[in-house]
């Protein structure tokens, strides 16, 4: 065990930050590899745990996703409303709201909401299990904690964020439609027709692909921070904090790369 070098200088802190970041990224990659290896061994699949996670992660998140999505859609319509009013191009409102909701704002905000609710919860839960030796208890029972605890969460987060984004898209557009009528006074049919005429299939699918990657990123990040908790209640709190922050960064990075690579 090597002792940490005592450097309180600016450069020392700077370097430490980088080393910590590298270490985190490396640990997450290793975790990902272990998850994939466990995924291959199908006997690790635990039905009960998977259903429980799907329920906790998916069904319980539905209300918050719907609420977020509806307001996102409304916001997009209001934001493009000024432009539309200035130019009178009312048919563009459907296009503007649809593109924004499908490809960028929808997946990102739903992903952030999801990370705040599910990712944080997951980190806290795993962290508590670590602190109270429950992970070790699984190991001494000959049960692979990755296969039993992490894989169901990983799968459930990907599957559920995917489907929740699809549902969220619908509610976002509905929220937009209501706002369109109520705030801008534009007939909803113009709005819906605008969406249908704008050929948004590619954007829609891109959003869903993003959701898959966001789900994976949130799962890896939240499980990583959960599993490496040390030092009791405070450690759990710190891990949750790190988990949410890292998830947000991961979401924006993944989003950027997918958007760039898509076109």
């Amino acid at each position: 065990m090597s002792k940490p070098v005592e450097t309180d200088s600016f450069l020392g802190n700077f370097g430490r930050t980088f080393i910590t970041a590298f270490q985190t990224v490396g640990a997450m990659t290793l975790l990902q590899l272990r998850i994939f290896r466990s995924l291959l061994a199908i006997k690790n699949f635990d039905y009960d745990e998977s259903v429980t996670q799907l329920f906790k992660i998916g069904v319980r998140s539905l209300p918050v996703v719907i609420a977020t999505a509806a307001f996102v859609g409304a916001l997009m319509v209001v934001a493009s409303g000024n432009f539309v009013r200035a130019t009178g191009a009312t048919t563009l409102i459907g296009w503007a709201a649809g593109t924004a909701v499908f490809s960028e704002v929808g997946p990102i905000l739903i992903g952030l909401m999801f990370s705040g609710r599910v990712g944080a919860n997951n980190t806290a839960e795993l962290g508590t299990m670590v602190v109270t030796n429950q992970i070790d208890a699984l190991r001494v029972l000959g049960i692979n904690p990755i296969g039993y605890l992490i894989v169901p969460r990983f799968m459930a987060m990907i599957v559920m964020l995917f489907f929740l984004t699809a549902i969220g898209d619908l509610f976002a557009l509905t929220g937009g439609a209501i706002t369109c009528r109520a705030v801008l006074g534009i007939d909803m049919r113009i709005y819906w027709q605008g969406i249908l005429d704008s050929n948004l299939l590619s954007e829609f699918i891109m959003g869903l692909v993003k959701a898959i990657f966001f789900g994976g990123a949130i799962a890896i990040v939240s499980c990583h921070w959960g599993l490496q908790v040390t030092g009791g209640a405070r450690g759990v709190g710190r891990a949750v904090n790190d988990s949410v922050v890292t998830s947000a960064i991961a979401i924006f990075m993944v989003n950027f790369f997918i958007t760039v690579l898509w076109t």
Binding site: T132, L141, G142, I143
Partner: protein
Amino acid sequence: MIEYVNVTKQFGPLTVLDGINLTIKDGEITYVIGSSGTGKSVLVKHAVGLLRPDAGRILIDNIDTTDFNERQWNQIRMRYALVFQHPTLFDSMSLVDNVALPIRKHQKVSKPAAKKSAMEYLERVGMTTKADLMPSDVGPGERKRVSIARALTLSPDCAILDEPTTGLDVVASKNIDEMISELSKSLGKTVIVVSHDLRSIFGVADRIVFLYKGKIRLDGSPSAFRASDDPVVRQFVSGEASGPMET
């Protein structure tokens, strides 16, 4: 058979195990005793690969485990079941589901069958009436009983019990002691117990290993233990507050 060869373990500046040489024979009931914080739990955690020695090696059934990976250890753990000092039940599932979990995972049985089997194990520790409660609803002694039942579901060759009677009332302690005897005498299993409970030690143990300051101070039968003229051992046996023992 578990062999410790010159095992050393440090936590930071603190040397917990200092060159331990120990062979635990099959079929015996071995008690590992010593004052709190001398590394008894650390010692048994090495036997199932939860901790790896900083130096020295551990041989299980004459196989060197130094380079074992997690999957190989899982095979060992199926035969060497460890029950933790602090009961570590999964708090998201009921007591019976806790016990049924390893049955479901390791035996190809249906869920109801696993549950039924789990109830049998719970009966052995007298917990059938509270089977559907959650771990947080019951006391620590009861949790301990359930976690012992859970470990036994693996039908291990060797049970490693870390302070099984701590926090248990007199009646429950006696039940556990009887269970330990039964495991060894009638089922021929190896049992390793970490304990302070002098009552059970002299009633049950075949062999006593006294750990003091990271080293084995005494290794022998209960009678040899009782007859020892080592002042530290004598103080431990008598349980007197004053004496040379450092805690």
